[in-house]
Symmetry: C2
Amino acid sequence: MRIGELARRAGVSTRALRYYEQQGLITARRSANGYREYDEEDLRLVAEIRSLLTVGFTLEDAKPFVACLRSGHESGASCPESVEVYRRKLAQIDDELRTLLARRAEVAAQLASACPGCALRVPAAGSPAIESPREQEDQ
Amino acid sequence: MRIGELARRAGVSTRALRYYEQQGLITARRSANGYREYDEEDLRLVAEIRSLLTVGFTLEDAKPFVACLRSGHESGASCPESVEVYRRKLAQIDDELRTLLARRAEVAAQLASACPGCALRVPAAGSPAIESPREQEDQ
DNA sequence: GTAAGCCTTGACGCCTACGTCAAGGTCAAG
DNA sequence: CTTGACCTTGACGTAGGCGTCAAGGCTTAC
């Protein structure tokens, strides 16, 4: 199939597909007239990329997953490199969560001191429903 | 004082100060030779801006606070416009927290299915320590 | 006079995943 | 032959808060 069909089936723009190729994530055969030619496996690769992007991965993060799929694995996450990316991402997300929670608390505190009573309308940052993620790196 | 001294005392770069001016946050008198001249109040304004930026506010968000200070209030948060920004920011932070938590859960789930056992090393997204912030907008 | 240290206004670079023209080639239908 | 739908590469624009030259003027000290 050509780029337009792949784009429709994968739910992305043709621009995105060319960008993924430019970034080294996917490659396309070329037909005689220079048009890119894709197959079903490429559709899987793009689906994997999209899936990862929507959960906050960068294209760089996605590379090991795509490589894993292309090397014959049925899942892009079946390779150790991919698992490592998963773990790094979890750690990064936890960092961001901690940062956000700290900022939330700070903003709530400033709001409370500037406008006593306003803070009553929003959940407290230290409430039992909002806590920092537990630290628990590998091993 | 001139821009260099203000920068040192406020702990920011001269580039940042010019940028704040360009964005309409601070204004400077000019001495005969064209140099910017600042006073102690400008120092307070810059301190306010820095304080807000570090908790994730944009310069646009900071404008009401600066305006509030300049209009004579002792706190940049004493004006209703500032309080409104606080509330919008809290809501935005809560949105980001929910998004992050959802992504965390998604990543953890994918990791778990791709590498059973790996997930045991990281905190579970649905654990009692990590929950979505309670919704509770105004009123 | 000249070096040093301060100041000025531009203006590009960064980072990410594309959106959006621009200018033009390919191919099948009518 | 023309229209139209498809394809190609190239290149600028976006958002935010500056960093980092570039090229040059002011002032004081020696």
